[in-house]
Symmetry: C2
């Protein structure tokens, strides 16, 4: 098995973390019918009040790239942009398998 995975950190304006979580949960919802998006999880960290983390698994890299051009994605990016102060792709990975796929 060779899936394409990303672990991404967003820095968010103070007080706007919950808004960002909601926007990303909406993004996850919009991918419910997108088979190539296998996992898309929205996380926060107790010690970092201005951050949101995503862990996502895609069937392949192209599927991820293509998703960025979808109308639903574009709408959500527009919505999130004003409250995002930074973004860091912590890891780009190949998922070899495990529980949950």
């Amino acid at each position: 098995m060779n899936k394409y995975s990303l672990f991404v950190k967003f820095n968010i304006q103070e007080g706007e973390r919950d808004t960002m979580v909601d926007i990303l949960l909406e993004a996850a919802e919009s991918m419910k019918n997108l088979d190539e998006c296998e996992i898309y999880l929205v996380n926060i960290s107790e010690n970092e009040p201005n951050c949101v983390y995503i862990y996502e698994v895609w069937s392949n890299e192209n599927a991820h790239q293509a998703s960025l051009t979808l109308e639903a994605t574009q709408t959500l990016i527009k919505k999130a942009k004003p409250i995002i102060t930074g973004m860091e792709r912590i890891s780009t990975l190949q998922t070899k398998g495990g529980k949950g796929l």
Copy 2:
């Protein structure tokens, strides 16, 4: 929703990455019947030949702690120990939801 998630990096002895992937896939297999372990994914990174990453989601922190004392886990830790040169918990997270849970 408030799940307990971990993103962990293992440093592995040169040439032993595939062995480590196999050990961790075995660990994932042993958790197939453990409902509280919801996701346990084994990943590698193209640019880091001596690393393996795990992303895991648990129902709660206690379930994760308890899993470390299981016989199956202990056996796998014993097996992996000789080839592990380092371990870093990159993130401890609360998963708020998304696709795949």
